[in-house]
């Protein structure tokens, strides 16, 4: 038992972090916010070139041949920077839809009662009949609403979404800590005040617990562990974003701060899986 990242896993994570810092920095994020519904195809292909979508495809099929734990690390990084697009669906389509693995084609799929990125995608995997557009709360995720009963998402889709939530939770914790160290009131950094300090500590604790759950689920691929990961990662992302807004005060309530983008995306992600109620029921049934 050695529940720690291996050297290769660390290198992979750092590599993806560097790639995203170069290809999707804060300017790119704000540009994306200002051009709703538009998917940056050049970025998508760059991700494809870097192996983002082919990560879990066997080497014999031209993929990187890695597993779920590696995919989780990569999607965590995507979540940190709020990388837009139907990333999970395209990743999971890499073996079945030609061009998905290389980033030439963008693939989306229904997720619960929602269908993200329909208009900007080349392929919809699954039944999208009757989909009607929805004014999405997240400026970075255009949504359609689907009628009727919906098929459950695959365990991989649920887990990779949880990994994105984890990345977002860790990031909003960092943003809060940074702001708390810089912003001064009453003659000292606000991070010296316990009320603020304790919010930040709670954010870290939430993110660390979610991390343990998400990584373990990636290693075991056990459905109950995946359910636990989903529940805790959703909670960490949503609540950390909320607390991060609070730590930023009035600034946190502006469009200018990135925090609201994390909050809105975390709501969208939480809404694309099972409801918390369904997940809790599954976890109860497993007792």
């Amino acid at each position: 038992m050695r529940f720690q990242l291996t050297d290769d896993q660390r290198a992979l994570r750092d590599g993806v972090r560097d790639l995203l810092a170069g290809r999707f920095d804060r300017d790119a994020l704000r540009t994306a916010v200002d051009t709703p519904g538009h998917l940056d195809r050049a970025l998508w292909r760059a991700l494809g070139d870097a192996g983002f979508f082919a990560l879990c495809l066997p080497e014999a099929d031209g993929g990187v041949g890695l597993g779920l734990p590696e995919a989780v690390l990569v999607f965590e990084e995507a979540g940190r920077v709020l990388l837009p697009g139907p990333l999970v669906a395209t990743h999971l389509a890499a073996g079945t839809v030609p061009g998905a693995a290389t980033g030439e084609r963008v693939v989306t799929a229904p997720a619960g009662e929602l269908l993200p990125w329909r208009d900007a995608s080349d392929v919809v995997q699954g039944d999208a009949t009757g989909a009607v557009p929805l004014a999405s709360v997240d400026p970075l995720t255009p949504l359609h609403k689907l009628p009727g009963p919906h098929a459950p998402r695959s365990p991989e889709a649920v887990l990779l979404t949880a990994a994105e939530q984890l990345g977002s939770a860790a990031r909003t914790c960092e943003l809060a800590v940074r702001y708390a160290g810089e912003r001064e009131q009453f003659g000292q950094p606000i991070g010296a005040f316990q009320a603020v300090k304790h919010l930040c500590a709670q954010m870290l604790v939430r993110a660390e617990l979610a991390r343990a759950a998400v990584y373990a689920a990636a290693v075991t691929a056990d459905p109950v562990e995946i359910a636990a990961a989903e529940l805790l990662a959703d909670e960490a992302a949503v609540r950390n974003a909320r607390d991060c807004v609070q730590v930023h005060g009035g600034m946190g309530f502006t469009w200018e701060a990135d925090v609201h983008l994390h909050l809105k995306r975390s709501w969208v992600r939480a809404g694309t899986g099972r409801t918390a109620r369904e997940t809790e029921e599954e976890l109860a049934a497993a007792l």
Partner: protein, 411 residues
């Protein structure tokens, strides 16, 4: 990331299981909570069995009388003993889980030879004399004085919340050896024999009804200078070592116990019809996620304690050299202590009104005692400070400057 155990580790687990299955049925019945001599005898008896079977001090270094087992083996030990329902460490808590490890890390060879073997053999019980009536969270404000008199310290003052004081042979005692130094600098860590003249122990009744801890009055108690662990006035540093053991590793086994209880709650609820309550059911589902993740976090922390070169540090929670756990323990303790309280609140719901109010029921007693987990070993508020300042690097509060500013009118 690897969650599988090696063949060697699985063999260790299998042997341990076999041994547990052979000894547990023959164990005498548990003494009642307030039968202190009975509890002492019971807990020491169990420790002696562990010792004879080669399971005592599993995680201690070999040169401290331990088995030098890997942290993973220790984890397996905690998992299997809890699963099998073996006795809890009980009165041996302080000796085995923090005084002992502190002496192993900081003591001289003579001190290790004197104090460690009796802890492992189950011959001696330790207690912890840190807190004082006016120095709880602000532990470094302690005032118990120790004055040098030849090769002895003469100790006077009082301690409070001293668990197991009534049955202890030794006390890890914090004293002030230099009253003129800044408060963190004038402290020393002593091993005080509990049969020394001048010690009065007055039991305190807890809200759970038992006399779990005590007040301790020290009146010119003579403690040999040779009983000081670490340098004179360097006791705060030694204390930090003790506390990191207390928070870092001492609660690990309990997570397994909580998972067992959670399974029992579900079984009970299915039997008595409470399972039909969707709100309760979902609450148990959420606790399932919580305790699974806490167990995974434990495995993460243990793996981390096995040493990752600092240059490749994952986070700043890792342990120091020498097997001293890192402050990741504070992250764990925060979430665990609250989850434990929620668990036994849920147990009360499963039991229904009459059951939940019946102190003959083990779960009711556990529910009461769960209230101590967010207080003992440093309150949740203090743990939040530690996480924020030592892990996240947020600045320390400067109350004087703040007060001055508030006087000026604030906003």
């Amino acid at each position: 990331m690897d969650l599988t155990y090696t063949d060697e580790e699985e063999e260790f687990r299998a042997r341990l299981r076999e041994w547990l299955a052979s000894v547990l049925p023959g164990l005498p019945p548990k003494p009642s909570p307030n039968d202190w001599p009975g509890r002492r005898a019971y807990d020491l008896g169990w420790q002696r069995r562990l010792y004879d079977a080669g399971y005592a001090g599993l995680h201690w270094p070999a040169d401290a009388g331990g088995r030098g087992a890997t942290p993973t083996q220790h984890l397996i030990f905690l998992e299997e003993t809890e699963k099998a329902g073996a006795p809890y460490v009980g009165a041996n808590f302080v000796g085995l889980l923090h005084a002992g490890p502190t002496i192993a890390a900081e003591g001289t060879p003579q001190q290790r030879a004197r104090w460690l073997p009796p802890v492992l053999r189950g011959d001696e019980v330790w207690c912890q004399g840190f807190s004082e009536p006016d120095a709880g969270s602000d532990l470094a404000a302690l005032r118990t004085r120790a004055t040098r008199d030849g090769d002895h310290y003469v100790v006077s003052g009082s301690k409070i919340w001293t668990s197991h004081a009534e049955v202890a042979d030794w006390c890890e005692l914090l004293v002030r050896t230099d009253p003129s130094a800044p408060k963190h600098r004038g402290i020393s860590w002593l091993a005080m024999p509990m049969d020394a003249p001048g010690i009065t122990v007055r039991p305190l009744r807890t809200l759970a009804g038992s006399a779990e801890f005590a007040e301790m009055f020290l009146d010119d108690v003579r403690v040999p200078v040779a009983n000081r662990v670490g340098e004179e006035n360097d006791g705060w540093r030694v204390t930090m070592v003790t506390l990191s053991f207390e928070r870092g590793t001492a609660f690990v086994g309990e997570v397994v116990a909580c998972r067992r209880v959670l399974g029992e709650l579900a079984a009970q609820a299915r039997k008595n019809g409470r399972w039909d309550d969707a709100v309760l059911r979902r609450r148990l589902g959420r606790l399932n996620a919580e305790f699974r993740a806490l167990w995974r976090l434990t495995q993460w922390n243990v793996s981390e304690a096995m040493g990752v070169p600092p240059a490749r540090a994952e986070s700043r929670t890792r342990g120091k050299a020498g097997g001293v756990p890192g402050i990741g323990g504070s992250v764990f303790k925060l979430r665990y202590s609250h989850a434990r309280q929620e668990l036994f609140d849920a147990a009360a719901e499963v039991l229904g009104v009459a059951g939940a109010l019946d102190t003959d029921h083990e779960w009711t007693l556990d529910r009461l005692s769960s209230l101590s987990y967010t207080i003992a070993a440093g309150t949740s508020q203090i743990q939040h400070n530690i996480v924020a300042e030592r892990i996240l690097g947020l600045p320390k509060d400067r109350p004087t400057g703040l007060r001055k500013d508030l006087q000026k009118g604030g906003r």
